[in-house]
């Protein structure tokens, strides 16, 4: 049975970065990817805006992925595509994985695992869209695959539900390819995507954005013939009497991403219900020793640059992993935060900098974010503007403080009078 120091599951931006950095540390690395080609979802992200932070360039998603793919091909990382992890088990001192591929079944043993399994899209059923089941209802990512990978038009007259980035990007993409995008409907009262995308995907093309409205029903037998939209109340429930019928042949859903953690669950890795990803420390190790998590599997990111950063860290730490005592203290987020990551800090292994990511729960103007250690303020930062769709990154030096057994870090948020 082949053995590895680090097995990275997932060959998208997170996994690629993890494999590269793990190999740099001298580890024997296996990178497993279930698709035919590396790159993950970036293969279909032909739009630009990637790499501004990491490379100082405005690249398309494919180019961004290609950089990492070229780099990993130069290393000694063993790459196995069209390979599916069917089972994963923790043994006494390592992990055993069962891989399924065209060549057969293979069991491998690995000292550490990096879960870079990305996320999936929320479905129509999960947002309670009723009615019939015709062809022509697609999640935005699937529509993107049809158009950008297969070169096929998924629709001619489209309604988009959800103002998340994928929906906005597809609004522009479909319009440029000759489809008619009738409008983007968003159940929340504020848009979900990056401002840059609102501007360049909707406003540029005069595509209307309807806030506090949702799609409640799909109509059509063999193919979509229309949808019913309705206004929603503060609890995002449709308001009876506000229904309107819209003639269309395609409904595109961009209603959220859900981290994929089936393998994490198989291993009994503790998950955070706010992020839907694993609970981890600042080294990206989960509460299960030897299991690391990064990228969108850990929490849904907006920027591929941060995904790569987390992958790079996770891979490096997975390579350096040896079983040792951790002194984990919890990191909690007070009112106003959607979540913060990591959820734990290992005070036995503080590096020069500790990176935190967080999202505000609501749109806010001038806000002060403070970090308290056992009630005492150790960091304070003021933000002009915070939006849930725009994840924030904080780099802090946590050295030099006194950490006890019962210590805890807490992020608090205060909106200041403007």
């Amino acid at each position: 049975m082949k053995t590895y120091d680090v097995t990275v599951i997932g060959g998208g931006p997170a996994g690629l970065a993890a494999a590269i950095s793990a190999e740099k540390e001298g580890a024997r690395v296996l990178l497993v990817e279930r698709e035919e080609r590396l790159g993950g979802v970036l293969k279909q992200c032909i739009h630009d805006g990637f790499g501004i932070i990491r490379f100082g360039e405005k690249l398309s998603g494919c180019e961004y992925a290609t950089r990492f793919i070229h780099e990993v091909l130069k290393t000694s990382v063993e790459i196995s595509c069209l390979t599916f992890v069917s089972d994963i088990k923790k043994t006494a001192s390592s992990f055993c994985l069962t891989l399924v591929k065209r060549g057969g079944l293979e069991d491998i043993e690995t000292k550490s695992v990096v879960l870079a399994t990305g996320c999936r899209e929320r479905t129509a059923r999960q947002v309670a869209i009723h009615g019939t089941r015709p062809a022509g209802v697609f999640t935005a990512g699937t529509a993107q695959y049809f158009l950008n990978v297969m070169g096929q038009m998924p629709g001619k007259k489209c309604v988009i539900l959800g103002s998340g980035d994928i929906g906005l990007i597809m609004a522009r993409r479909l319009t440029l390819e000759g489809a008619e995008v009738l409008g983007v409907y968003e159940a929340k009262s504020t848009p979900s995507g990056l401002m840059r995308n609102l501007s360049q995907c909707l406003y540029d093309f005069n595509i209307p954005l309807h806030l506090s409205q949702t799609v409640t029903e799909v109509h059509g037998d063999a193919r979509v013939t229309g949808v019913t939209v309705a206004e929603v109340d503060e609890n995002m429930r449709p308001v009876t009497g506000t229904e309107k019928y819209i003639d269309c042949d395609t409904l595109i859903l961009s209603v959220g991403l859900i981290p994929e953690n089936e393998l994490a669950e198989k291993l009994g890795v503790a998950l955070d219900m706010h992020t839907k990803g694993a609970v981890c420390d600042q080294k990206y190790m989960t509460l299960t020793d030897g299991v690391f998590s990064c990228g969108n599997a850990l929490h849904v990111n907006d920027l591929a640059d941060y995904v790569s950063e987390s992958g790079e860290e996770a891979g490096r730490n997975a390579a350096r992993y040896t079983l040792r005592e951790r002194a984990l203290i919890p990191v909690t987020a007070g009112k106003g935060f959607l979540y913060t990551v990591p959820q734990r800090v290992d005070t036995n292994a503080l590096g020069e900098k500790t990176v935190f990511f967080f999202r505000a729960a609501e749109e806010r103007e001038i806000t002060c974010v403070r970090l308290l250690l056992d009630g005492n303020e150790i960091m304070k930062k003021t933000y002009r503007h915070l939006r849930p769709p725009e994840m924030e990154r904080l780099e802090l030096d946590l050295n030099g403080y006194k950490y006890d057994n019962g210590s805890g870090l807490e992020f608090v948020m205060e909106e200041l009078p403007s």
Binding site: R34, A124, Q126, H130, M153, G178, D221
Partner: protein, 572 residues
């Protein structure tokens, strides 16, 4: 049959608007009312449970025209001029089971179905329960056929290689004082055909089903209850039938019949006219229409919708078998109150509810029915949460007013046999219905010539191989023989390329996204086809050698893709 009390009840409810006539062994209702519910109520007021004097309900609804039956948009001559011994109308579980049963004889059997695949109506829209028949009154035909059918399931599912689990069903009670009655009831259940039972106190029940509501104080387990995949079984019946010589014609709708001297001489379809010796009516919600075409209308179907929700496989951690709470059954309806079922595929199914409807093919779901169902079932399963829902579906039951099955030869027309009004427990009873119908058919055909047994009949259907369910050695050997089985296309359900290609080569054609989904499951997992549907479309396109934009999701006109993105001529 006492007509006057019925006339009085109708008068009390509707005045002169509804008229009742008792003739030809039927109760004919005519007139006009204001709503569908009132029309159904008129029928229910006159019907006697289990009676062979059926209500034929022609009461019209003011200002409402019932929708026309959907039929395929094309015509051709695929079955034109055929003269089968038996024409079976309807490829639901009953029609397919009948066709398979008939294949045991040397007969030319033609099975027609108006949809693009078998099992698309009630047979794929139910909870897959094989019932012990608890709430069926002894004396009813459906009770008898349920008992027989239930007993046949182990053997039939083994022959057809369809997974079947006799997991048992718990009938739960909130009152501890019911316990002695449960013990006393056991001989009754055994005697009346519901099989062996076991009494559980809260403690012992909790050990078997740790997540059951603490409100449940005792329960009665019915050991004969089981779970099967209803469309998987229907497909298996159909495949075995075709394997044994039955001709299956899909997209074939029966549009009319010629009846001379009490005999059907011709059956018109959109794919030609056939001249069967005998006709078997297994047309589900349309059984009444078929009976009319055949000049043999002596019953009426009043369709009843039900919606089920399917929960993520993770919810399965909370349930091991089937349970429902006594008292969830509404006194107003004749359908069971639904329950919480762990399906054959490992999901949890919640539902169904029951609502009268004139729309036989309306499978729309609604938020209200999901909510209502959940609230009802939460009494025995407090862990139910709508957040676990991955999908939901609606089915329409074919109920007669007498709420019993009709499994008999025609009354006015000599060469038709009806398997009509098959609502719950239709799935359980299907094997027994098939045997009974087949006997009637052979007897009917025997009048004009000898009917011989088919010595080549093979009851075994080759299984659908599921590599992910095999042990490692078998799976490895399979992949070594055929590497396509090692390439996973659907990661939520771990379905390989090999399985999808194999499915497309099975006896019943299924090269649509949904057809493949029903056979080998890609698209049924948590991402609902988000990742795999493009791959499935590509594979169908490759296998059938058709352009990707011609690949269908299901029915005609359901192509997901509209064609390659524009060249310079496109109006960009």
């Amino acid at each position: 049959m006492n007509i006057e009390p019925r006339r009085k009840a109708l008068f009390d409810a509707f005045g002169d608007a509804v008229k009742l006539e008792h003739k030809n062994g039927c109760l004919y209702l005519s007139g006009e009312v204001g709503s569908w519910d009132e029309a159904v109520r008129a029928g229910l007021l006159c019907a006697e449970s289990g009676s062979k004097t059926h209500v034929v309900n022609d009461v019209a609804v003011r200002g409402f025209t019932p929708p026309v039956t959907k039929t395929p948009a094309f015509t051709d001559t695929a079955v034109d001029g055929k003269s089968p011994d038996v024409l079976v109308i309807g490829a639901g579980v009953v029609g397919c089971a009948i066709a398979r049963e008939l294949a045991r004889w040397k007969l030319d059997v033609l099975l027609v179905e108006k949809e693009y695949d078998v099992s698309l109506h009630a047979s794929s829209r139910n909870d897959g329960m094989v019932h012990p028949g608890i709430d069926l009154r002894p004396g009813l035909l459906k009770k008898k056929l349920n008992t027989c059918g239930n007993r046949m399931y182990t053997k039939i599912c083994a022959e057809l290689n369809v997974p079947f689990e006799r997991c048992g069903q718990y009938l739960c009670f909130k009152e501890k004082r019911k316990l002695p009655a449960l013990y006393l009831s056991r001989p009754y259940w055994l005697f009346t055909g519901s099989g062996r039972t076991k009494v559980y106190t809260y403690k012992s029940l909790q050990r078997r089903e740790p997540h059951i509501s603490p409100d449940i104080k005792c329960a009665l387990e019915f050991k004969s209850a089981g779970i099967v995949c209803p469309y998987g079984l229907t497909i298996a019946f159909a495949e075995n039938a075709v394997q044994n010589g039955v001709t299956l014609s899909l997209d074939t709708a029966v549009l009319g019949m010629e009846v001379k001297d009490g005999r059907i001489t011709a059956v018109k379809t959109n794919r030609g006219t056939v001249h069967p010796k005998i006709v078997i009516n297994a047309a589900g919600v349309f059984a009444g229409e078929i009976a009319s075409m055949a000049g043999d209308r002596f019953f009426s179907i009043h369709p009843r919708r039900g919606t089920n929700a399917i929960l993520d496989k993770k919810a399965k951690r909370n349930i091991n078998t089937i349970y429902s709470l006594m008292g969830t059954q509404s006194k107003e309806t004749h359908t069971k109150g639904g329950g919480v079922v762990s399906t054959a595929d490992g999901n949890v199914l919640v539902g169904p509810d029951a609502v009268e409807t004139p729309f036989k093919e309306n499978f729309e779901t609604s938020a209200e029915s999901i909510f209502g169902t959940f609230e009802r079932q939460r009494q025995s399963a407090p862990w139910l949460t709508q957040r676990d829902i991955i999908t939901y579906f609606t089915g329409v039951r074919a109920a007669t007013y007498e709420e019993d099955f009709i499994v008999e030869a025609g009354r006015s027309t000599k060469n038709i046999i009806h398997a009509a009004g098959i609502q719950s427990p239709g799935l359980t009873a299907a094997p027994a219905i098939a045997v009974r119908i087949s006997k009637l058919a052979v007897k009917m055909l025997g009048k004009t010539g000898r009917v011989e047994k088919n010595p080549g009949f093979d009851p075994v259907r080759p299984p659908i191989v599921r590599p992910a369910a095999l042990c490692k050695e078998d799976r490895a050997a399979l992949i070594a023989r055929e590497p396509d089985y090692g390439e996973i296309l659907c990661r939520c359900e771990e379905v390989s390329r090999g399985e999808i290609i194999a499915a497309m080569h099975r006896p019943v054609p299924c090269a649509t996204v949904d057809g493949i989904k029903r056979r080998v499951r890609p698209g049924m997992g948590r991402c609902q086809g988000g990742f795999c549907s493009p791959l499935i479309i590509k594979l169908i396109s490759e296998t059938l050698n058709i352009p990707e934009e011609k690949v269908r999701k299901g029915t005609q006109g359901s192509e997901p893709l509209l064609g390659p993105k524009g060249g310079p001529d496109e109006n960009v």
